[in-house]
């Protein structure tokens, strides 16, 4: 194939402000209490903790609510409630357990609009995503696992399945409601009881989910929700009353949790960071590939553990891909997350924004070429324009460390072997994307990529029926599908 020479003088496309979209804000008003405590034993309680955290709307920096930082005593209460609820819950007829999950799923659907708006307020993600992805996917997880509740004896033929016990679950701030669903649904479907700690910056939707548990009459203690900060998480993770710990978050914290629980019989699953590669071969549909890459890194402001943050493009199509990427990125709309036309919302917190900005500076210092689209960012709130680096070398820090923001590192390769070597040369192994029109090549490369999920000619596709999880420092254990039940079952 002859390399395509692009005419450098070729006029670029102009995406100016002609026919600008008028604001289209989502109208639903959502009530938020001034203060929240914890949800323990079926009741909202004030909690023993004296300290409170303020959760803010990252798009405006306005305080949304003050929320309890649960202290070790609160954790004791929650674990005790979960332990007390366990015998009845695990002996409940499986069909009855399933009914609760179905009810929860239905109630999530009924309150979808309210949950989506609240999620966007607390997290900063565009309403388009909370409305079309987070909330519907969360409902799907409850529906899907409701179906498993009475079939557990047939999941692993010849083996008897029993619940593990009390599960401690700690979730991150990037998909606050969806991660709560990912964690709670399989646990309670399998007959376990739960103590869940939502993230420090995004506790509101998990507490709304607690309201739903009350509405559907879930027996007290089956799910307990304890908001808080790192100290709360540490107390819960180390609590001897739990038989299982599930954590989604950063690799650093994941390692610490593994250390704390080493030598105990507690089961552990970790879903950690990533630096997932996209590989675009020269025979790919470049329009589709560029769209996939854009969705892969700019979805949820890049706050996605499996974000495709490293892009490897075959040398001879690199100029064309860069041209298409630039054109596509100029159409990304950054701003008010509640506007239905917003593609990129706010960065979740000031500290995350500082982390991202640190990497942007570092990338420039390392010699990569920083590219950003011109866009008016709001004055208040935490914002980062969609960014990509050209001229990145695999040895650059920005090509190795997880940035967890809307930042893409563009690199090239010449042969498929080189692409594979470069793609696998990372401490992580969560996801990967292959873009090629050639079936044989896709199967060959997919089998050799060290990643928990390999998407081919698509990216960021999720389904409750499909397992998700990582290799290497991206963690262990799977969520979703049949594999996702294993961490919550004792097989004999």
């Amino acid at each position: 194939m002859t390399p395509k020479t692009l005419n450098i003088e070729a006029p670029a496309l102009d995406f100016g402000e002609h026919w600008e979209y008028a604001p289209a804000p989502e109208g639903t008003k959502v009530e938020i209490a001034a203060r929240y405590g914890a949800f323990i034993n079926g009741e909202f309680v004030k909690g023993h903790g004296r300290k409170r955290l303020t959760t803010v709307n990252p798009a405006t920096e306005e305080t949304l609510s003050e929320v309890l930082i649960a202290n070790p005593k609160d954790i004791d209460d929650a674990v005790a409630a979960a332990r007390a609820a366990l015998p009845k819950w695990k002996r409940l007829k499986p069909q009855e357990r399933a009914k609760y999950l179905f009810r929860i799923a239905r109630r999530i659907q009924e309150r979808a609009r309210e949950l989506a708006v609240l999620e966007t307020l607390d997290n900063g993600k565009p309403i388009k995503e909370s409305r079309d992805v987070d909330i519907p996917e969360a409902a799907k997880h409850f529906f899907y696992h409701a179906g498993w509740a009475d079939k557990l004896d047939y999941v692993f033929p010849g083996r008897k399945a029993r619940p593990v016990g009390v599960c401690a679950q700690i979730i991150p701030w990037n998909f606050p409601f969806l991660m709560a669903a990912w964690k709670i649904a399989p646990a309670i479907a399998c007959g376990n009881t739960v103590v869940l700690k939502p993230a420090e910056t995004t506790p509101l939707t998990a507490l709304r989910l607690a309201e739903i548990f009350q509405e559907v009459g879930l027996p007290p203690g089956v799910v307990n929700i304890v908001p808080g900060d790192g100290t709360t998480g540490a107390a819960l993770a180390a609590h001897p009353g739990c038989q299982k710990l599930a954590f989604t978050g950063s690799t650093a914290v994941g390692k610490e949790l593994a250390r704390v629980n080493a030598g105990t019989s507690k089961r552990l699953t970790l879903e950690l960071g990533g630096k997932s590669p996209h590989i675009i071969f020269n025979d790919a549909s470049l329009d589709a590939a560029v769209e996939g890459v854009v969705q892969g890194i700019f979805f949820n402001q890049g706050h996605v553990c499996c974000a495709g943050s490293r892009l490897f493009v075959q040398e001879d199509v690199l100029p064309e891909v860069q041209q298409l990427l630039r054109a596509r990125l100029h159409n990304l709309r950054v701003g008010d997350p509640l506007d239905k036309n917003t593609d990129l919302g706010a960065i979740n917190s000031a500290s995350q924004l500082a982390t991202i900005q640190h990497y942007l500076k570092l990338g420039v210092a390392e010699g990569a070429s920083l590219q950003q689209i011109k866009t008016k960012l709001p004055k208040k709130g935490y914002w980062c324009a969609p960014t990509w680096f050209e001229g990145v070398q695999p040895a650059h820090v920005i090509a190795r460390e997880e940035i967890f923001g809307p930042v893409l590192a563009v690199m090239s390769f010449r042969t498929p072997e080189e692409a594979l070597t470069r793609a696998n040369n990372t401490p992580y192994g969560l996801a990967a994307g292959i873009w090629s029109d050639k079936g044989a090549r896709i199967f060959d490369i997919a089998a050799k990529l060290k990643a928990g999920v390999v998407w081919c000619n698509t990216y960021n596709r999720f389904d409750a029926t499909s397992p998700f999880g990582g290799y290497k420092q991206s963690g262990f254990g799977r969520e979703g599908g049949r594999h996702g039940l294993l961490p919550y079952l004792e097989l004999s």
């Binding site: 002859t2 395509k4 020479t5 692009l6 005419n7 003088e9 070729a10 006029p11 496309l13 102009d14 995406f15 100016g16 002609h18 026919w19 600008e20 979209y21 008028a22 604001p23 289209a24 388009k128 079309d132 025979d283 790919a284 549909s285 470049l286 329009d287 589709a288 769209e291 996939g292 064309e320 041209q323 054109a327 159409n331 239905k340 036309n341 029109d437 000619n457 698509t458």
Partner: protein, 299 residues
């Protein structure tokens, strides 16, 4: 490699096209954006009648509607063109006069194209002689599908010559091409052979224009342009009936090709019933109530 030609063959992903096309439909267009967009749709319309039963009276009323689509709506532009059979070009030209509304004519044995080249050329020359500003020709699907691309290209060249100064739109009739790959190939072939516009359909075959197919053709235009081949116009035709749908098409053009294509010079809607739905929406924006079917004129 000649930089003016985008003759490279890129793979096409139909699944991705459908997803991307659907994403444009989630854009929420309100207030001023909607009003401006609807007016733009009017200005981009090729108001069309292509029936065996077309009469002089029908052509006259079509032209009148083209010049002044709705007197009750302030600042309403006239449509881009009227599109008729060659027989009616003279009359249409007389009706629109020097208003700026162009007269387009389907020629080259529309809609099937199943006649000898000489006959097609005569058809085209006749329409041009009558004063047609634009010629909508049909791609010869028989030769194209049999793999005889050279014949198709030569035919477009010959017709382009016969058009003289008239603009040439090449109708691919995407509903007969069988695959997205074939549509991409036909788009590049037509652009390289001299088309000023590429157009989806005759309106006589189902499916006619769809968003994924139009997106594919817009992407072909984009790659032709970025490779230095210059601007080519786009005309989806047939099947677009609702104002809201037309606005989604505009979003797609805006976010795929950008500002330069957001004018009647580079983008057209081939439609007959769309205009009335757009007018009813504009009336609603004016009056605040939904317009009845009888609030707009039928031609």
């Amino acid at each position: 490699m000649n930089p003016s030609k985008s003759d490279h063959e890129r793979a096409v992903d139909p699944v991705a096209l459908e997803q991307r096309a659907a994403s444009f439909c989630t854009r929420s267009l309100k207030k001023e954006t909607k009003a401006q967009g609807l007016r733009l749709v009017v200005a981009m319309t090729d108001l069309t009648t292509l029936e065996g039963s077309d009469s002089p009276e029908k052509v006259r009323s079509l032209c009148r509607k083209a010049l002044c689509p709705d007197p009750s709506i302030p600042n309403l532009p006239q449509v881009a063109a009227v599109c008729v059979y060659p027989k009616w070009v003279g009359l249409a030209k007389e009706c629109v006069g020097d208003s700026g509304v162009r007269v387009a004519s389907v020629a080259s044995a529309f809609p099937s194209g199943q006649v000898a080249l000489e006959t097609k050329l005569a058809d085209v020359r006749e329409a041009v002689a009558q004063g047609a500003d634009e010629i909508d020709m049909v791609l010869q699907r028989g030769a194209f599908l049999s793999g005889n691309h050279q014949e198709v290209e030569d035919e477009i060249h010959a017709i382009k010559e016969a058009c003289e100064s008239a603009h040439l739109k090449v109708i691919l009739e995407t509903g007969e091409l069988g695959s997205m790959d074939a549509i991409a190939r036909a788009s590049h072939l037509a652009m390289n052979a001299g088309a000023d516009f590429i157009k989806t359909s005759t309106g006589k075959i189902q499916p006619a224009a769809t968003m994924p197919v139009t997106l594919l053709m817009l992407e072909a235009i984009r790659s032709h342009y970025l490779a230095g081949g210059g601007m080519i116009g786009m005309k989806p035709a047939g099947g677009i009936r609702a104002a809201k749908e037309a606005l989604h098409y505009l979003v797609m053009v805006k976010e795929t090709l950008g500002n330069a294509w957001m004018t009647p010079e580079w983008f057209r809607f081939g439609a007959s019933s769309l205009l009335n739905d757009v007018l009813r929406q504009l009336q609603r924006l004016e009056s605040g109530r939904y317009a009845a079917q009888y609030d707009v004129t039928e031609t």
